[in-house]
């Protein structure tokens, strides 16, 4: 069966939405059997359909776009969670909030992201001649 790019992209969106609905439903019902089956089925459907696509779905430009988007996301999310974490910890010490543990979680998460980022920079730097 021939699947063109537009049809594959549409199918991808439908599968992701369907998985989201079933997983949400499972979370509300505290039932994980159906969501797990749906996720696996969705992956199988997407992989099967992906193999039928002969059009080019990704190239160097889409990779560059995603790299830029990922870099911006990393920067903003890390800065936001770091700031939020420090603010919550500080406010909890001053008695304005009780979310000190949440603050620490955010702050540690921001640090962890930076550590992982530094490791990847080191790894890819070595691969590219550092």
């Amino acid at each position: 069966m021939y699947v063109d790019k537009e049809r594959y992209n549409l199918l991808q969106k439908v599968v992701v939405v369907a998985i989201g609905i079933v997983v949400s439903f499972g979370a509300v019902r505290h039932s994980w059997g159906l969501p797990m089956v749906t996720v696996l089925l969705g992956i199988v459907v997407l992989i099967t359909m992906r193999r039928q696509v002969t059009d080019v779905l990704h190239d160097e430009r889409t990779v560059a776009i995603r790299a830029k988007a990922a870099s911006r996301t990393l920067g903003y999310v890390t800065a936001l969670t770091g700031f939020l974490g420090i603010a919550l910890v500080e406010l909890s010490y001053r008695g304005f909030t009780e979310y000190r543990s949440v603050g620490y979680a955010f702050a540690y998460q921001a640090n962890a992201i930076l550590v992982v980022y530094a490791l990847f920079v080191w790894y890819y730097g070595r691969q590219m001649g550092d």
Binding site: V56, L57, H58, D59, E60, R61, T62, A64
Partner: protein, 65 residues
Amino acid sequence: MENDIRVLRAVKNISQEQLAQELGVTRQTIHAVETGKYNPSLDLAFKMARFFEKSIEEIFIYEDG
């Protein structure tokens, strides 16, 4: 960086979609290169040069700064 991809494509009478298929990229990438919004990698630039039987310098005009 400017380029003559659109002109060369017109000479060969092929669409962006056809050129994209020949080079193994998306039509959007060809459009982005033609309009100067995206500078292709050296790899893609060589592929384009070979396809149009030109040198890279004949297709792409590099301006300092």
